[in-house]
Symmetry: C2
Subunit: 529 residues, 2 copies
């Protein structure tokens, strides 16, 4: 895709000059060029010898003004910048920029929690605030609202929202819970969206739209600006919470389960964003594959069944869900869900009802925690499934929420994964009308052939899935152009439109070239200028 | 704001040449230049002698291809186009373009209902489909889903959604229920958003995001393209529906009511988008002011109180709301709502429970209908409140959902309206965390001084409201620049960003110049090219 010679080296005179100015602007101690830091802010789930995405430097500004100054300096020197919050982005490239030579701007030091509002149930944060930080803060300060969290709590609220990330409370569709942003544009100027575009308007984080087109979504999964502030809607602590757990004895009834759940999602009887996952997904949280199976290669299906039969409350497929509210409503909703799912053969539905103000995280399993907005780190274990220095790459497809589509994607991904030597660790993140099928290809990052097979497998699955009508929701940098190319309607009209916006908003093309397959003019194929 | 000489006349040679080509492209019978049609597609709520927004011609294409051809022709001749669905837009200028000389492209003939999907609860429509059309179609074809409707059913689903319009079911936040669009860009090419950017992807109207930044909101309240297809999420017919009605005896307890409702909106105990409105708002639906008060000038407050005391189930303030679901849930939610509102002095809460499959529109009042997605035309009567040939202009502000803010806005708008000779007909459209205060200044359109006073009043209130921290949600063309100018953060960074997008997406500046205060380069102040 790219046609120029990347500035991958600190010896590049333009970069060297920019680094001097960066040091003057944010302090030399916050401009790292040592190999260890550069690796930390590359893709930590790739083998260390794969240096294609190793950034030449990592900047860690502490304020919006410093970000503005970095952007201005970079613009003057033609240095490319890749901004992130924590830079976790597990399985999708970590902190790694998509274009070789791009400097990472990591915003961990911008970690101010600007507002926690229990009355209106929202928070306003800088990009360096992690889900763990936020939870600790709300607990320490007696706040009652529940902030949505993904499975692993070390990521950035802002970063995760910008990548269309998901969580598991009533506000789990995180991009849809964003309300009002502040953005540093590629020229270093500040933009505030929605009602925030009026000075001191108190509805900035209360009303999703202002006057004219709403711009928030334009800065998600994009390279049009660096978001330095974001409002996120949260849920008030409910009087009662039921964390529900569904097990399915047989793989063959997965389609029936998905079809039974759909109407409960559409009418929001299930009030949160549930997950449906394989036994291997559940097992990988608590152990390594060798704990369950001594042999080589993927665990055979019949062996999985035997393992599942021995473990209480574990099915070949498992679903978690939640309801929240007054006691009379949560009881009624839980009864309704149980009745609706009873049509699925071999299904078991259990629930634990807890007062919202009496939640003891220690008494909850991982699902019980994240469905109550309590971040957790246990799921990070999944990457250790294959042993060694764990890593994984994610393949994540958007499908209609139907049993038929659920079966079609598992019939594609399971055999393909196993043929490449990986256990199928998959699951569905359910939304109102669609679902994401997420698979992790887990490997030891010191096993380069395995890492290469995982990357190839993901790349190859993209085209096959697209032919079946399934688009990706997120991708590793090595896969971004590939995924973008599957969005082919009218000769890739969407990409061409993105490119037009990119050239207008960032004419020098300094922000995150290649992100989501969006390249600035000078790096596009066949572009002369 | 504008600096050129508008092409307001069909004698303009460029326009004449374009009209010939429009006739060849879509048929001469669909290109109107007669005065009657031009008036019909101007602002019908302005006095007929005010010709500032009278379009020189009205085009009514029937297909997307015809829209593409119109855009290409207009582009070649530098003719400006203002597209709308039905062109109703009551109180915000009707079908009138913001810039004199702009040709109206009315899409009433693009009236295909492309899909009604009960399984996933969504519809896909062209811009000419009205809420009335849609309801008739779903009823005639045995569909069960409920399509959200605004108060008056003659408008376009697409047009209303694009203007950030509101309805009263669970999907009343219409812009948030949009999922997937097809758009004719200013160069005549087609763009599909989200998963629709992949050919034949079945999740186009199921998943709100694709790969890269979601673009849907960019085409709402904007002039960046002409939307020719839209998916809209709907609600499934619930097993039970309770239409609730709240009356408040005293005006002074309005703040207590709003504060009591807020938590019920945030946690979605109230499942729809309720309205809170004055007695005058309720009375204007069923009669004229002279039916209730023989005197001149606004009805005095004490007289209003006396009228209200005589009418059953009418308060000085009234709120409608709804819950939907299985019988056990709607009963529980209604009980919870009643209990929560009982803290408000002088409040009465009643509800009517109906089976979703046994709804008889004839048995429901206007609120009972629209909260069940049944369009109605009764509210159109409001414009006849002042007698004569009714018209009104809307002043609509976004506020935090608090009693304090509710009181501040009524304390501003009521006396200002009355001082200008208008009854205060106001209300609040409630959202999760914010509300819109909507006022109608109703006049006889043959009474030019009254119409002028109404327009001036709206214009003057904008700046005052902005100083109080309140931005407008929508505006009459005569007020768009004024409203946009109140979004002043960082030297109007949002407008400057809109302008940058406008110049990139529509370099010739032919689409809806001035809409929402967004002008193309050649029409901006101080612009030389």
């Amino acid at each position: 895709m790219t046609t120029d010679t990347p500035r991958a080296d600190v010896d590049d005179p333009q970069l060297a000059a920019a680094l001097d100015e960066f040091r003057a602007a944010i302090g030399a101690e916050h401009v790292a060029t040592d190999l260890e830091t550069r690796h930390e802010f590359s893709d930590t789930y790739s083998p260390r010898s794969w240096t294609e995405y190793l950034p030449p430097a990592v900047l860690q500004p502490a304020t919006t003004e410093e970000v503005q100054e970095i952007v201005r300096i970079a613009s003057r020197h033609g240095v490319e910048l890749w901004a992130n919050g924590q830079g976790r982005n597990n399985g999708y490239g970590g902190s790694a920029p998509a274009h070789a030579g791009t400097v990472v701007v990591n915003l961990r030091r911008m970690n101010r929690i600007l507002e926690v509002n229990d009355e209106f149930s929202y928070v306003v944060v800088e990009p360096g605030v992690s889900f763990n930080d936020m939870y600790d803060y709300t607990q320490a300060n007696g706040h009652t609202l529940w902030v949505d969290t993904p499975d692993i709590g070390w990521g950035s609220l802002v970063g995760n929202a910008l990548e269309h990330g998901f969580g598991y409370t009533a506000h789990g569709d995180r991009a849809n819970s964003v309300c009002g942003m502040e953005i540093v544009l590629p020229d270093g100027s500040l933009l505030r969206t929605g009602m925030g575009a009026m000075t001191d308007n108190p509805s900035w984080h209360l009303s999703k739209r202002g006057f004219g087109p709403m711009l928030d979504s334009l800065f998600m999964q994009s390279n049009f600006g660096i978001v330095t502030k974001m409002g996120l809607w949260c849920m008030p602590q409910p009087e009662y919470y039921i964390t529900g757990w569904v097990t399915l004895e047989d793989d063959e009834h997965l389609p029936a389960l998905l079809d039974a759940v759909r109407p409960l999602m559409i009418d929001r009887t299930i009030m949160n964003y549930p997950s449906v996952f394989t036994a291997s997904g559940a097992l990988a949280v608590v152990g390594k594959r060798t704990d369950f199976f001594p042999g080589d290669g993927p665990i055979p299906f019949e062996v999985s069944k035997a393992i599942v039969a021995q473990i209480p409350n574990l099915g070949m497929w498992n679903m978690r869900f939640a309801v929240y509210g007054k006691e009379n409503t949560v009881d009624a909703q839980f009864d309704n869900i149980k009745a609706a799912l009873s049509v699925v053969p071999g299904v078991e539905v259990i629930g634990t009802k807890i007062r919202g103000d009496e939640i003891d995280p220690e008494s909850l399993d991982q699902s019980g925690k994240v469905q109550a907005g309590i971040p957790d780190m246990q799921l990070l274990n999944t990457s250790s499934w294959a042993g060694g220095v764990g890593g994984h790459i994610g393949f994540s497809t958007v499908l209609p929420l139907t049993g038929r589509d659920g079966r079609r994607i598992t019939d594609l991904v399971r055999p393909a994964s196993e043929a490449a030597g990986f256990d199928y660790i998959g699951g569905f993140l359910l939304r109102e009308r669609s679902m994401m099928h997420v698979t992790l290809m887990v490997y030891d990052t010191e096993d380069e052939p395995a890492a290469a097979r995982a990357r190839d497998l993901c790349a190859n699955l993209v085209g096959t899935a697209a032919k079946m009508g399934y688009g990706e929701y997120r991708a590793h940098p090595s896969n971004m152009d590939n995924v973008q190319s599957t969005f082919d309607y009218n000769d890739h009209a969407m990409r061409r439109f993105y490119e037009r916006l990119k050239d207008a908003i960032d004419p020098a093309g300094i922000l995150a070239p290649g992100k989501q397959g969006i390249w600035p003019r000078r790096l596009r194929d066949g572009s002369a200028d």
